[in-house]
Symmetry: C2
């Protein structure tokens, strides 16, 4: 598996993309609507938010993906088309109609996603005119920018992996920033691959990749109404279709997870108001589930997040979060360190140099490691610090 | 039931209290250790944190309360005596030994609680000297101040209620401020009553009161390692012991819940960095449990809390939190208003005057009401806004 530098979703063979400024975002210039399309129908799988309040595009896309097939995505930013009633549902359908007509493909093969403010109707005239102006080409970077809301940077990741003698490309984009605490998917993530993959295996691989990536990442603990991850596999690489058996399928699943994990980390790093990226590694848990739960509880804790922001090695807050995570924890067995500074060993407080503890929290990347010494479960979670900037952004976000 | 103005825990007959500055808090002057005692053994019940990392005093007190009996509480602030290993356990036991010897009562009838920083050993010489200097009397207000950490105001509440021809007093104190997201109890709460109550009914009444008060309140989503609520009923009022049957027992349980709810609201109002108190009322839920869960999810949401801080009527965030709360929610049935401003009716967006929406969020008390229109379950939750002040306090809290 070889990461791609400066990856674009259109690096996968047979995929093209295009984006324009339709006027959904209010700044009058930013790209805010895009199409990502395959030159042939692709096997497809997705995961969507578990929030019971679900945006119209989420409901439509989840239903359509039951076919296991998709050829194009139409996505807008600046408006989530959520809590918008029947009109919102009709608007989302209309977006897929327009994209299907433009591309000359069946509307059932078009998936739709939206992100932005909740509870406001889409400006459909602008959307329609925008879709008309989109030009498709090797424009993956534009698509990545067109799905941003309060994101400061575009999130893209990709890799190449040898599968059955062929080189297969997997590349994706994501957006995050706020209302980020995915449960089955992130805010928005789209991955394209030219591998040939059987639908049932693709569904399993997407679930596995999500659990090891987007579901282990948080910005603010709020699971959004629009979380969607969709993966398209169009088979342009010419490999024998992967069915889940053998080392090639394993290699594909791991490569997909690694692309999703890269995107998840980029979302965490660009969390609203964030000044630091936090990685929490929990080892020695009773199970992988426990390890992931414990790591996510620590990286989700407002008290841990503010302590990291203030570079305060107040490690009791980490122990506290491990304790309420739901994972099995025995205090007298816990080892804990921040960076290279040991804070607790076998439940005993370690004398540590406070300056070293502060230094371990000063950099832009903070790593917190706990060993629960109860089993062999390992899990990782990613997040960011909680700052005055987060409060400032979210106290003033325009409804 | 009649609320007591300027209530003190020593308003209940037969109870006395005393507090001194032992030097556990670093400011050299604040009260930081107290004893609350009954003049006779009392029936007692308590609830404690569900965090798996539990402070030494929590473990000791929970064990001792199995007897259903207690006569005195010894409590310190400034140090949580948590993650302090065997030495911490011995220190907590020593605190109860010293209090029992001072009062001339069995050590098994003494409960201990601590609050403050995690992972630091208690300065036991100061603790011992402090306990020696405590003078007991009608000093309930001192006890309320002695359990404060980052609290800005002392939390006290009380009421009188007629029980079987006698006037019974129920009065309590609590401390909160940060690491507040109780699960079975708050950070610290102590309630004294002169009612005579059978142990088994007291346990049920305490559980009921907790579920309708402390468990519906949050500051920052972090369930602490030291949450403890202990209720003492010494029978000095001379009523026939309440056993759970009949209107007197119901009146007592409701009065106890109301005192606990008052304390919980005072904790929410004084949350770290808070500028506003938030009450979320959910009606029409499929069950009381669903209503409480939904209300607590809304008041816990960082995005709702920052929107309230910024007086931004971004009501989509409320819908979003209802949706991920775990409660049954059907978007098309939801009614929602903030203060008197209707935002959604039957799932349809209401046109509202933005200035009125902002005004409803400007005051120090913000009320958010949702009707799920699914059943008759009602629940309330209390919290506070999330501000730069919270970040500032918790980025700099000294380890």
């Amino acid at each position: 598996m070889e990461p791609i530098a400066d990856a674009a979703i259109t690096d996968a063979a047979g995929f093209s993309a295009g984006a324009v400024h339709a006027g959904i975002k209010k700044d009058g210039k930013s790209l805010d609507i895009c199409i990502i399309a395959s030159d042939r129908p692709a096997t497809a799988a997705g995961v969507f938010t578990r929030n019971k309040v679900r945006a119209a595009p989420v409901r439509i896309s989840e239903e359509r993906l039951r076919s296991g097939r998709c050829q194009a995505l139409i996505v807008n930013a600046g408006n989530a088309n959520c809590c918008t009633g029947e009109r919102g549902h009709a608007d989302a359908l209309r977006m897929t109609d327009l994209a299907a007509a433009k591309l000359g493909i069946p509307v059932a093969d078009v998936i739709v996603a939206s992100t932005g403010v909740i509870g406001v109707h889409l400006p459909m005239e602008r959307v329609e005119s925008g879709i008309g102006r989109i030009e498709l080409g090797p424009n993956g970077h534009d698509a990545a920018r067109a799905i941003m809301t309060t994101d400061l940077v575009a999130k893209e990741a990709g890799c190449r992996v040898r599968i059955g003698g062929q080189t297969v490309t997997i590349a994706g984009i994501a957006k995050g920033s706020g209302m980020i605490h995915p449960n089955m998917a992130t805010m928005l993530g789209f991955v394209a691959t030219d591998a040939a993959v059987a639908p049932s295996f693709l569904r399993r691989a997407v679930a596995e990749a999500t659990n090891g990536s987007f579901n282990q990442m948080t910005v603010d603990g709020d699971t959004s109404t629009n979380d969607s991850l969709v993966v398209l596999a169009n088979g342009a690489a010419g490999n024998t279709a992967l069915d889940g058996s053998g080392p090639d399928s394993r290699a594909f699943a791991e490569a997909l997870t690694s692309v999703c994990a890269e995107l998840a980390k980029k979302i965490a790093r660009d969390g609203e108001g964030a000044t630091k990226f936090i990685e929490v590694v929990v080892e020695g848990a009773a199970s992988i589930g426990d390890a992931r739960r414990a790591a996510k509880a620590v990286v989700s804790s407002n008290l841990v997040k503010t302590a990291v922001y203030g570079a305060d090695p107040n490690w009791g807050r980490v122990l506290c979060a491990l304790g309420y995570s739901g994972a099995e924890v025995e205090e007298r067995k816990v080892d804990l360190r921040i960076g290279d500074v040991w804070l607790m060993r076998g439940g005993e407080i370690q004398q540590f140099d406070r300056a070293a503890g502060v230094a371990a929290l000063k950099g832009p990347d903070v790593v917190i490691r706990a060993n629960l010494n109860l089993g062999s479960g390992k899990g990782v979670a990613w997040g960011c610090d909680l700052t005055e900037g987060y409060v400032d952004i979210n106290g003033k976000y325009t409804t």
